[in-house]
């Protein structure tokens, strides 16, 4: 662009008048106007220089109004002109209206913006990468949030599905599993439910499939005949169970009828998707079972593990289905004309009626929880929302940083913008001009961010194993992309349009009247300071959150577990009923197997248990009584839910193998065949039975028999946080005839687990080549899995805090560096007047400290507010732990100083002599 009029001498009045008149009449955009004015001035200056009079030049030019009309019609537009600069104006084809259309202008601006960015690739890349960080983290977290909380479950009309819990006892406050008769009762509540489906609660029922090909261990789920219909699922082949297969006629017989529905995976992998599978008999645990149906792909149990096959649960009354046995999990589908609230309201009279008819059922009530809510649970829901809020803060910080970069660059363009404004470019036009450029930055940042999000999602999935419910499979879908679009809009609004509005508000007179370097309007300086404050606040809040979670995780790690987790390998050996039909056979096998394993080098102890610690409650069974003056007495409900304790069936040296301290009494290995039935109590059970006294020798009723207390062992954690429940341990010797217990073997050894596993497998094969060493896993891994959620929340929060710190450091540095650059002259003068380096350095650092301090205070407020959401995730630490907050603020203050050091150093190096002659 040629020199503009502010730098030229003025022309004679008649020429100025002509130029003004032409410009006034030519209704063209600001860029074309600039060009026209420049050409006219060149023309008349050349004419005057050639010695012609102003009057003759004006006359030779022709009438102003006609000239303006004609010129305006053909002048190149702004988009065209700015694109490549004066040196290579490119023509556009065809005639145009006097004003380019809005669409043409927009496209022109967009093209123009893209070219402008291509000329400054480093700037563009820096902004896009910053945005991508924020958008990517958001996309990844949202993908998980969407899959777990927002996406409906994969069943038809999932909003009508509810989980049914029972509350038992006069002050029942803990959900209980359902009893067979309760489910039978609910089947009659057809005014509320379209269907009720029950599943056997003690899931993970392993069954051995034998016959054609390799023996295969399968997971089977016994379900009532209403199960599939309630979930709205139909088989793709054959049928599901009919009413009779679950509900009778007749009385409870125990073993399921010999039919099974198989999963799509099993059908395609084991049976080669054979369409003639229905009616075929297979061998399950040595029993012939007829396959009656195949479920569609993706169909899975709403609760528990995915099943390979389903068998009918015997729901007939009698046997296990009595009012004392809570062993079922149920899901119901509400009728279309019944809302959840209506259903809840109508429950009370129905339950009251049932209790009146069946006094033996005791005091109980029923609770309905929407299935999705039940699956995710309040802690996970809370965690996901907290993480979403945290990641939104990261995005805010990223937007602020990007805005900061944009401003820094915008300052260099102030003169250009001021000139445009002076020449009559409307503010809206200036905003469009700037926003077009930012549009590309936001779009690029978002696309890059979504790509980053894809990587992030797979990393998150890897990290979230065992944390997210079974039915949730995070994937990118329309909702996630919709969210991406929303984030883009927010991003653009935050850092695109806002800076454009501000930068476009330049005042021509002050800007053009200033020196060659762009100066920062006061509002803008304030805003950039605000950026630093906001970023510091976000960093403090996230560091405090991460700090609380870290503190909590340290507590979790030091929680008393009541066992030793190192150097212990666990695995299952399932004994098929066909070959090990008698309890005595099974017990003999376990004894011989454990003897062989114990003889292996480096093995110090071997045992087996029906359920490992750390993997949740299981088998809450039977009531504990104390034989006192010939009468039994219930345990206090605060100790044992429903007067019951978790039952563990053990054999061998289990306590030593798991490192569970035996506090008093004898060990299982001290007992022989033929001794009276015995039981070991966990410490909390013993303390409740005989406060302050010795429990050994007492006679109690536990796990279905009267037993003598042989010893007391330490309470053992059932989760990663050290939560323990009353537990009793009964020897397999006494229980082997009760059922074919799926025992988990526990082997303590200093050997490498893989090596140990191979040696044990060799022993197993030597004993019985048909047996499988199933699910080998060190106890340490169990612990890792048990702490997965705590670790997951901490890891993500720490990652976000780290990002926030990086962004805040970059932002603070950018603002201070800009400040030093703008105040070079002032600083130079101060140095010339004798200001010491130290005082100059302090000036810069003071700004850094002031801004981050203000931000820290704000951040503490945000952290305080946000910590309430964090409370349910914390363990052993209060949300108001003062030192966590103090440390976060100190960290960010230190960060402010570190970020300010470089600009401060630069300020002290300003050479006053060079500065003043500039």
């Amino acid at each position: 662009m040629s020199r503009s009029h502010d730098q030229r001498g003025s022309l004679p009045p008649e020429i100025e008048g002509l130029i003004t008149s032409v410009l006034d009449h030519a209704k063209v955009d600001s860029s074309a106007r600039l060009r026209l004015e420049s050409d006219l001035r060149d023309h008349f200056e050349d004419g005057l220089a050639a010695g012609r009079s102003a009057a003759s030049l004006v006359e030779a030019f022709g009438p102003a109004r006609t000239a303006a009309d004609e010129m305006a019609r053909v002048l190149p537009s702004e988009g065209e002109e700015r694109a490549l600069g004066v040196a290579s104006w490119r023509a556009w084809s065809g005639a145009r209206d006097r004003r380019p259309s809005a669409v043409a202008t927009l496209f022109g601006e967009l093209r123009n913006g893209a070219r402008s960015l291509l000329r400054t690739p480093r700037f563009a890349l820096a902004v896009m990468c910053t945005l991508a960080l924020g958008v990517g983290a958001n996309a990844a977290v949202f993908t998980v949030l969407e899959a777990v909380l927002l996406r409906p479950l994969g069943y038809s009309e999932p909003e009508k599905l509810v989980r049914i819990h029972e509350l038992v006892g006069p002050e029942g406050d803990d959900y209980d599993y359902l009893r067979g008769p309760t489910v039978n009762e609910m089947r009659t509540w057809t005014d509320l439910f379209e269907g009720v489906g029950a599943m056997y609660t003690y899931r993970d029922i392993g069954r051995d499939l034998t016959g054609d090909g390799e023996p295969q261990r399968l997971l089977a789920m016994p379900v009532s005949s209403g199960f599939f219909r309630t979930l709205g699922a139909s088989p793709i082949l054959g049928r599901v169970f009919d009413e009779d297969e679950s509900f009778g006629p007749g009385e409870y017989e125990g073993g399921p009828p010999n039919v099974a529905v198989i999963s799509h995976d099993l059908w395609s992998e084991r049976f080669g998707a054979d369409t003639g599978i229905v009616g075929r008999a297979v061998q399950l645990d040595g029993r012939s079972v007829e396959i009656v149906g195949v479920m569609p792909p993706g169909f899975t149990n709403p609760i528990g593990s995915p099943a390979d096959l389903w068998t009918p649960q015997d729901m007939r009354l009698g046997g296990s289905n009595h009012w004392g046995n809570h062993h079922l999990t149920a899901v119901a589908r509400l009728r279309d004309d019944v809302t959840l609230d209506q259903a809840r309201a109508r429950l009370a009279p129905l339950v009251a009626g049932a209790r009146e008819r069946e006094p033996a059922s005791g005091e109980w009530s029923v609770v309905l929880v929407p299935l999705q809510q039940d699956l995710v649970g309040p802690a996970r829901t809370n965690m996901l929302w907290v993480l979403t809020a945290a990641v939104a803060l990261v995005l805010l910080s990223a937007c602020v940083n990007a805005g900061n970069l944009v401003f820094a660059r915008g300052l260099h363009r102030q003169r250009e913008l001021a000139l445009r404004a002076a020449l009559g470019s409307a503010r809206a036009r200036l905003v469009t001009h700037l926003a077009a450029e930012y549009f590309w930055l936001a779009l690029g940042g978002t696309l890059l961010g979504l790509a980053l999000g894809l990587v992030g999602v797979s990393a998150l999935l890897e990290a979230s194993k065992g944390v997210l419910p079974l039915a949730a499979q995070p994937s990118l879908n329309a909702q996630v992309f919709g969210y991406g679009a929303l984030v883009t809009l927010i991003t653009m609004a935050l850092f695109g349009v806002a800076p454009a509005l501000l930068l476009s508000g330049v005042r021509p007179a002050s800007t053009l009247g200033s020196g060659s370097r762009g100066t920062e309007p006061k509002g803008m300086a304030l805003l950039r300071s605000g950026f630093v404050v906001a970023q510091a606040a976000v960093a403090v809040a996230l560091i405090a959150g991460a700090g609380l979670l870290l503190r909590s995780f340290v507590e979790v790690r030091s929680a008393e577990l009541g066992l030793e987790t190192d150097r212990t390998l666990t695995f299952e050996v399932h004994l098929p009923g066909a070959r090990y039909g008698e309890g005595a056979d099974r017990h003999r096998f376990h004894q011989e197997f454990q003897r062989r394993v114990a003889a292996l080098p480096s093995v110090t102890s071997v045992g087996a248990t029906s359920r490992l610690p750390l993997v949740g409650r299981y088998h809450v069974w039977g009531s504990i009584f104390r034989l006192d003056s010939g009468s039994f007495e219930y345990l206090d409900r605060s100790v044992a839910r429903s007067g019951a304790a978790d039952v563990r069936v053990v054999t061998g040296d289990t306590f030593r193998a798991l490192g569970i301290p035996v506090l008093s009494g004898s060990r299982p290995e001290d007992f022989r065949e033929g001794d009276d039935p015995v039981v070991w109590l966990s410490r909390s059970v013993a303390e409740k039975l005989t406060p302050g006294g010795a429990a050994e020798g007492l006679t109690v009723g536990a796990a279905g028999a009267v037993r003598r207390v042989a010893g007391v062992v330490e309470d053992v954690a059932s989760d990663g946080r050290g939560t323990s429940y009353p537990t009793v341990y009964v020897p397999h010797r006494d229980m082997s005839e009760d059922r074919n217990w799926p025992l988990t073997q526990v082997v303590r050894s200093s050997l490498d687990p893989a090596e140990l596993e191979n040696m044990i497998r060799a022993e197993l094969t030597a004993m019985d080549p048909g047996l499988v060493l199933y699910r080998p896993k060190p106890v340490a891994n169990l612990l890792d899995e048990a702490r997965a959620q705590d670790r997951f929340a901490l890891m993500l929060m720490a990652l976000f805090a780290g990002l926030a710190v990086l962004l805040a450091a970059a932002g603070t540095y950018g603002v201070l560096a800009g400040m030093v650059a703008r105040r070079r002259k002032e600083i130079g003068i101060r140095i010339a007047l004798g200001a010491g380096r130290r005082s100059v350095r302090w000036t810069v650092l003071r700004s850094a400290l002031g801004l981050t301090a203000f931000g820290s205070v704000l951040g503490l407020g945000v952290a305080w507010f946000g910590s309430r959401g964090l409370a349910t995730l914390l363990f052993g630490v209060s949300t108001s732990t003062p030192w966590v907050y103090a440390l976060s603020a100190l960290l960010v203050l230190a960060l402010g100083i570190v970020s300010g050091l470089l600009p401060a150093q630069r300020a002290t190096r300003i050479d006053p002599a060079a500065m003043l002659t500039e």
Binding site: S2, R3, A50, G62, T66, A91
Partner: protein
């Protein structure tokens, strides 16, 4: 006598392109050249020169380069593009055809001679 504006508008592009074909020029130089080389015929309505230049530029027939002249002043120099050269060739030919056609009609020749009247 001066040309009427309508005539000027029609002829100006061809005249400008012809001049620019000889050498690149800046705006005022072009106006002066037209004035001088056309016997002051195009002296009126110099704005038309710029209108024509903008139009030619829009259509990609001329290109503009800004650089310093010998005097040190920065000026915008116009020159023909390749498309401009082809355009000029075609239009010169068309002008010749038009001129020939008009000439054949007798336009521009001396008017009909009065019949000699015997005296």
């Amino acid at each position: 006598m001066k040309l009427e504006r309508e005539w000027l508008r029609g002829a100006a592009p061809l005249a400008i392109m012809t001049l620019l074909d000889r050498q690149e020029m800046y705006g005022y130089e072009l106006c002066t050249a037209l004035e001088r080389d056309s016997g002051n015929l195009l002296g009126l309505g110099q704005s038309t020169v710029y209108t024509a230049l903008y139009s030619l530029e829009s259509r990609g027939l001329v290109a503009v380069t800004e650089r310093a002249a010998e005097t040190g002043r920065r000026r915008k120099y116009y020159r023909l593009t390749e498309a401009g050269e082809r355009w000029l060739e075609t239009h010169v030919r068309q002008w010749q055809l038009l001129a020939e056609a008009l000439h054949r009609l007798g336009v521009g020749q001396a008017g009909p001679q009065p019949e000699a009247v015997p005296t």
